[in-house]
């Protein structure tokens, strides 16, 4: 088994940017300079994505036309399985994304492949593939190995690997997948509605975010007022949005808005948003995992620090 196969992710005619991060990871993982990196595009019209995935480090682009226009796990599993059996790569990289949640584990079962999710480091050590992920709420790191598995499917965490710079002229080939019956059919995409709240988290440069630690809904106002005073946009964790204490449009993290413009993030007792350049974590628990990714840490009660910080901004 040799070679690394990257499975591109696309949605509604657009390549998901994490795909190029996977290419970087694949490039770094090569055991020899001539180990090949191939990108497979599984889509109803795969050819349209060829230019976009022709980035530095890609040796080959494989177009795999699948019948389904929208996400169809059965079609993706059947196509990927046939392609892997034909090509026998050592490693198959997919993103740790919502779509991949819906099919990558099933692919691993059907092919009897090695499998790991939410991996943030991958390397060969003494010829053995080692994937590292978090455990116990990211408080420990876990190194996984894959004995007896010649093919390993690895779902990589987004925003860990930087997309490659530069272009390439990869060979392009086509792979006809087997036909799969459709048992899950897309009906429509529904955009997140901001309701009466017109905040755009994607353009916010300074976010102050709260989570369950605020205890009750009545305390939201205190932090909203603080956010206003310091010039931040107030964001929240999933439970706060689910409870309806703040609109869904304010939710940050995995399935919430990607706060791509955010440069300063003050996390009041919550985690998340590793991509932000300056993270200030306020947490009463000195063992909180966010202290390992934050730029600055404040070990304090969020209410006490909120009140004290408010006094620093008297207007």
């Amino acid at each position: 088994m040799s070679g690394i196969l990257v499975i591109a992710e696309q949605r509604r005619g657009e390549l998901r940017p994490v795909t190029l991060e996977l290419v970087s990871a694949a490039q770094q993982l090569r055991r020899t300079p001539d180990e090949r990196v191939a990108v497979a595009i599984l889509a109803d019209e795969p050819d349209r994505f060829i230019p976009e995935v022709s980035v530095a480090g890609v040796d080959e682009v494989i177009t795999v036309p699948v019948a389904a226009k929208d996400f169809d796990p059965d079609a993706l599993e059947a196509a990927a399985l046939a392609l892997i059996e034909a090509r026998k790569p050592a490693v198959v990289l997919v993103p740790h994304s919502i779509d991949a949640f819906g099919w990558a584990a099933a692919l691993a079962v059907k092919g009897d492949y090695g499998f790991a999710t939410d991996v943030f480091r991958i390397a060969y050590e003494d010829g053995k593939l080692i994937a590292t992920r978090g455990g116990y709420g990211q408080k420990v790191n876990v190194e996984l190995e894959f004995p007896g598995k010649p093919v390993v499917v690895v779902a990589l965490r987004a925003s860990v690997f930087k997309p490659p710079e530069g272009r390439s002229r990869p060979a392009v080939s086509r792979f006809e997948p087997p036909r799969a019956g459709t048992r899950l059919t897309g009906k429509e995409f529904i955009e997140a509605s901001a309701g009466e709240d017109d905040v755009d988290m994607t353009s916010a440069e300074f976010i102050l975010a709260i989570g369950r630690g605020i205890g009750e809904q009545a305390n939201v106002e205190r932090f909203r007022e603080l956010a206003d005073a310091v010039g931040a946009v107030l964001g929240c964790s999933r439970p706060i949005a689910d409870a309806g204490w703040l609109p869904k449009s304010r939710q940050i993290g995995q399935s919430g808005k990607t706060a791509s413009a955010c440069k300063l993030y003050v996390a009041m007792g919550i985690s998340g948003m590793k991509h932000v350049s300056t993270i200030v974590a306020v947490n009463a628990d000195p063992g909180a995992s966010i202290f390992s990714i934050a730029t600055y840490g404040v070990k304090a009660d969020i209410f006490e620090i909120a009140d004290a910080l408010r006094r620093q901004f008297p207007n």
């Binding site: 796990p73 819906g102 079962v109 899950l184 869904k248 628990d285």
Partner: protein
């Protein structure tokens, strides 16, 4: 009509903890166990279907785990599950999500539910893999990260919404029987009453071994897994520069940071 709800007894770390002597997991003395938060929502979704149905619906909770996992199953019984099944023997030790899924699939073959729910992920290791792996073993239709479900017992399909990145929802139609993984926020899980907690304590929990489910020893534990833990370790303590001092001093430094980084506008 039956709904199988796969649940997990998850573990959180004590503030101070030690890694086991073999370096592959945390010493169990330092683990605090509870029902996985996502599974509360799965069970509630099953209960909602049961309570809205004109025809009888049985809700069965299943958990792969040692005896202390009974606690998670009793929680499900207290919230209204009709039966509880626990799968375990010593051969299950070392199983990853894939090997666990194989056992849950074996229970599903025996129970023949129309819907099988699992949490979208678990709070401790967050593999987000078990549910879809179960579906693959069963060759059933499957969908992950569901935040809305419409299903009427007796019908051959269900309408669901997956929650994608950026909060976009994808409405889809799925054939049943199906495996669905449930996301937080799909409903508001109920609390169990003291009375039902007491009643649940007296209810039986059926305990099955892999062998009784027809799963050979070679298909569970490390041998039946798609990965094996080589090492667990505490990552280098973060690069966070701690802001020390009294609350007022901490706040003053934080204010200074904010002013620096927002160009002093605030």
């Amino acid at each position: 009509m039956k709904i199988l709800v796969a649940v997990k007894q998850v573990a959180a770390l004590d503030e101070d903890f030690e890694i086991r002597a073999d370096g592959k997991d945390v010493d169990p003395d330092f683990l605090v166990r509870d029902l996985n938060e996502w599974d509360d929502f799965s069970l509630e979704e099953a209960m909602k279907i049961k309570e809205a149905s004109a025809t009888p619906v049985e809700v069965v909770a299943v958990c792969v785990g040692p005896e202390d996992a009974d606690e998670a199953l009793r929680k499900c019984l207290a919230k209204g599950a009709d039966r509880a099944i626990r799968v375990w023997d010593e051969t299950v030790v070392g199983s990853d999500a894939i090997a666990i899924a194989r056992l849950i699939a074996a229970v599903a073959r025996r129970e023949q539910p129309q819907l099988l729910f699992a949490g979208a992920q678990s709070a401790d290791h967050a593999f987000a893999a078990t549910g879809m792996a179960v579906a693959a073993f069963l060759d059933w239709p499957h969908a992950a990260v569901i935040t809305q479900l419409t299903y009427t017992p007796g019908e051959e399909g269900a309408t669901l919404r997956r929650e994608l990145e950026g909060g976009v929802l994808h409405e889809m139609q799925i054939e049943t029987p199906a495996v669905l993984t449930i996301q937080l926020g799909i409903n508001t899980p109920r609390y169990a009453s003291l009375r039902s907690i007491k009643q649940a304590a007296a209810k039986p929990i059926e305990v099955l071994t892999p062998q009784e489910l027809g799963v050979p020893e070679s298909a569970v534990g490390e041998a039946g897994s798609a990965s094996r833990v080589r090492r667990m370790y505490v990552p280098e303590k973060g690069r966070a520069q701690m802001i020390e001092g009294s609350i007022e001093e901490q706040a003053a430094r934080l204010a200074q940071l904010i002013r620096e980084r927002t160009g002093g506008a605030a």
